[in-house]
């Protein structure tokens, strides 16, 4: 028998039982469609995620944290703060050592301040979680949608905001107009940093670090609007300014002066001597005390980040590159894909049972026909091949239709996702794609499933005794 005969006869047989074949194929279509969509979603999301990282240059970065035992990039970025027992202070000396390492081409010190409560423009007031400061030397860059990124000339009084803020401040799709606007940064009431008005304690001399219970308003000019990313509610400012915000200013007795005054008084009038205490405003540099939150080090090549991490760790500080972070993130996508694919797999398993059922029914119906075929010279192997082929064809057709339906659904999904991406000012679109390998894989998989589902019925057909089959009513 020729291959074309198998195709022709199988198609004829499938066509003869239109409804039953259609229902069987439909079951395969459900499985194939779900597997297609799930794989397409996961592949698309993974590709999008990786490309975002590549675009930011994050893959070339190593994040250094004071905590020596950090294990991943995410922890390094957010687990900073230098307030742990085992922490190594990130000082300028450490920074210089790291910058001197081979493969390190740049380093940005990162410092955050939680002392700003809100950003205010006109009557709009939005919550701020963090002011993030870093060296504006090109190691950390942001994609700007309007205005410019912070640069080395910026010292104080300038910020960039994310497009999230710009949207909420009423500059949606008009980011340019926000650039150059003066906004107020309203601090928390315990703020003692730069620009704070600390009232001199009147009653009790020597009062230490009393909250002044009054917000300070810092004026800032928005120089740029950056592409939004996951950390919203963050305002970016030059490192120097954030350094200043983290200053701890307080009134303290001027011990030397007070001592001298006391002695002078006692010399003049023996006995108890009550001298008015003199207070002075001192400022404590918190960075000197706690170090920076983290460093971001730029490696000369993506492939050298791992080596750089090892070298930096030798200095006793924690370090991680984005590779491992991306790996762990992609791992999540893989797991999601596995779970979703498993659901589709179950659908396909059910479809396979449908194929088995259909084929067993077909063999019962066509027993006499099989007998005639055998009498006319069909070999057992021919009969087996014919029924296996027919089952594979059911799977194949299900796969084709499944891919077509899946393609349609991903197109629809892309329309919605594109809207979502555009509203978050991402430049990419149509992230859910149906690569060729996926199409081929799905169709091949359903065909193979049909093939395996056909094995048992086909071997039953092949085992039929031709004499009995011819006599079958």
């Amino acid at each position: 028998m020729r291959f074309s005969d198998y195709i022709l006869i199988s198609l004829q047989n499938i066509w003869r039982q239109k409804l039953r074949s259609a229902l069987t194929i439909f079951a395969v279509v459900i499985g194939a469609t779900s597997v297609t969509i799930m794989l397409a979603l996961v592949t698309g999301a993974k590709g999008f995620f990786t490309s975002q990282f590549e675009a930011n240059g994050v893959l070339q970065q190593v994040v250094v944290s004071p905590k020596a035992d950090i294990t991943n990039y995410d922890e390094a970025q957010h687990g900073g703060g230098g307030n742990c027992d085992s922490c190594v202070k990130l000082t300028d000396i450490v920074a210089n050592k790291i910058e001197a390492l081979p493969h390190a081409t740049g380093l940005a010190r990162v410092l955050t301040s939680g002392s700003v409560e809100a950003i205010k423009l006109g009557d709009k007031k939005l919550t701020v979680n963090q002011v993030k400061g870093y060296d504006t030397n090109g190691v950390i860059t942001r994609t700007m949608v309007a205005g410019r990124d912070l640069d080395g000339n910026d010292k104080t009084g300038v910020i960039t905001v994310s497009s999230d803020y710009a949207d909420k401040l009423g500059f949606k799709s008009n980011y340019g107009s926000l650039v150059g606007k003066k906004v107020d940064l309203i601090t928390r009431n315990w703020y003692t940093g730069i620009g704070a008005d600390i009232p001199k304690p009147q009653m009790q001399p020597g009062a230490n670090n009393e909250p002044n219970n009054k917000s300070t308003v810092l004026s800032a000019t928005v120089v740029g609007v950056s592409d939004s990313n996951s950390d919203s509610q963050v305002v970016r400012a030059p490192l120097d300014w954030v350094h200043g915000m983290n200053m701890n200013q307080m009134w303290q007795p001027d011990e030397a002066y007070n001592q001298a005054a006391q002695e002078k008084c006692q010399r003049r009038t023996p006995g108890p001597c009550n001298v008015e205490q003199k207070l002075v405003l001192v400022s404590q540099d918190m960075v000197e005390r706690n170090g920076y939150d983290s460093f971001v080090v730029k490696a000369d090549a993506t492939s050298n980040t791992a080596g750089l991490v090892t070298e930096i760790k030798k200095l006793g500080v924690g370090a991680a590159d984005a590779q491992s972070y991306i790996q762990s993130q992609i791992q999540i996508f893989n797991i999601v894909g596995l779970v979703l694919g498993g659901i589709g797999g179950i659908a396909l398993l059910v479809a396979a049972i449908g194929v088995i059922n259909t084929m067993v029914m077909a063999i019962l119906e066509r027993t006499r026909e099989i007998g005639v075929m055998r009498a006319c010279g069909a070999k057992r192997s021919t009969v087996r091949a014919l029924f296996t082929f027919e089952a594979s064809l059911l799977g194949f057709l299900g796969g084709i239709v499944g891919i077509a339906v899946g393609y349609g659904l991903t197109r629809i999904a892309n329309v919605f996702i594109n809207k979502q991406l555009a509203s978050n000012s991402f430049q990419v679109h149509n992230i859910i794609a149906l690569p060729l390998w996926l199409i081929v894989t799905v169709i091949a998989a359903t065909t193979v499933i049909g093939f395996f589902a056909g094995l048992y019925p086909a071997s039953r057909a092949a085992r039929l005794n031709p004499v009995d089959a011819l006599r079958y009513e």
Binding site: M1, R2, S4, D5, I9, Q12, R16, R368, E369, G371, V372, M373, R374, A375, C376, G377, A378, K379, R380, S381, T382, P466, V467, L470
Partner: protein
Amino acid sequence: MLRFKDYAYGNKQKRFMPNILELRDLSRTYKLGDEVLNALDHVSLTVEKGQFIAIIGPSGSGKSTLANIIGGLDKPNNGTVQIDGQDLSKVRDNKLSTYRNQHIGFVFQSFNLQPHNTALENVMLPLVFSKLKRSERKKRAKECLEAVGLGERLNHKPDQLSGGQRQRVAIARALANNPSIIIADEPTGNLDSAKGAEIMDLLKSLSKQGITLIVITHDMNVAKQAQRVLEMRDGKLTERRG
């Protein structure tokens, strides 16, 4: 391979005709529960090329079993089946299938046509299992249908044909691969006597062309047209007239 037979087993007459079929001491038993049924009990038979033989006997006497073994659909428990000098009793399914395809044409009482296929497609069925090209198959099937007088009915489906016409299609199908033997199991059983006579005339004409014809029947009117009549009874074969 043809073999000239001067002293055929069980037949001492001297002839110069090749024996197409030589059955020796065939036994075929079936188990029905604890009972053993002897469908064939030491059956021997020699048939010359182009002969028309009829096998008669009551139902259950084993005549269909004999026909099935000759046709390569069944195998004996004991004894040998030589067809064209080839022993079929031991060959495997693949070879037996090829043998059926190349040497045997079956005609059944109930026609056994594929109801969803046209007359032409039905006749093409044995050709599908040979290695012929599609165009050649079509040509050959057409010739066979023309030979049975159905040249005008190529694209009719079985339900558009009369009983006699259906049996003609079945005969055309049996002819398709140029068989050396046609085995017809009650070929007129489902037909009225006039149509039955036409079918028998057709079969006889094939026999005259050199095809060995084995007809199984319990209709004496059919049997008496044969050159030899053999009777099966309780698994034993006896020559009634030869």
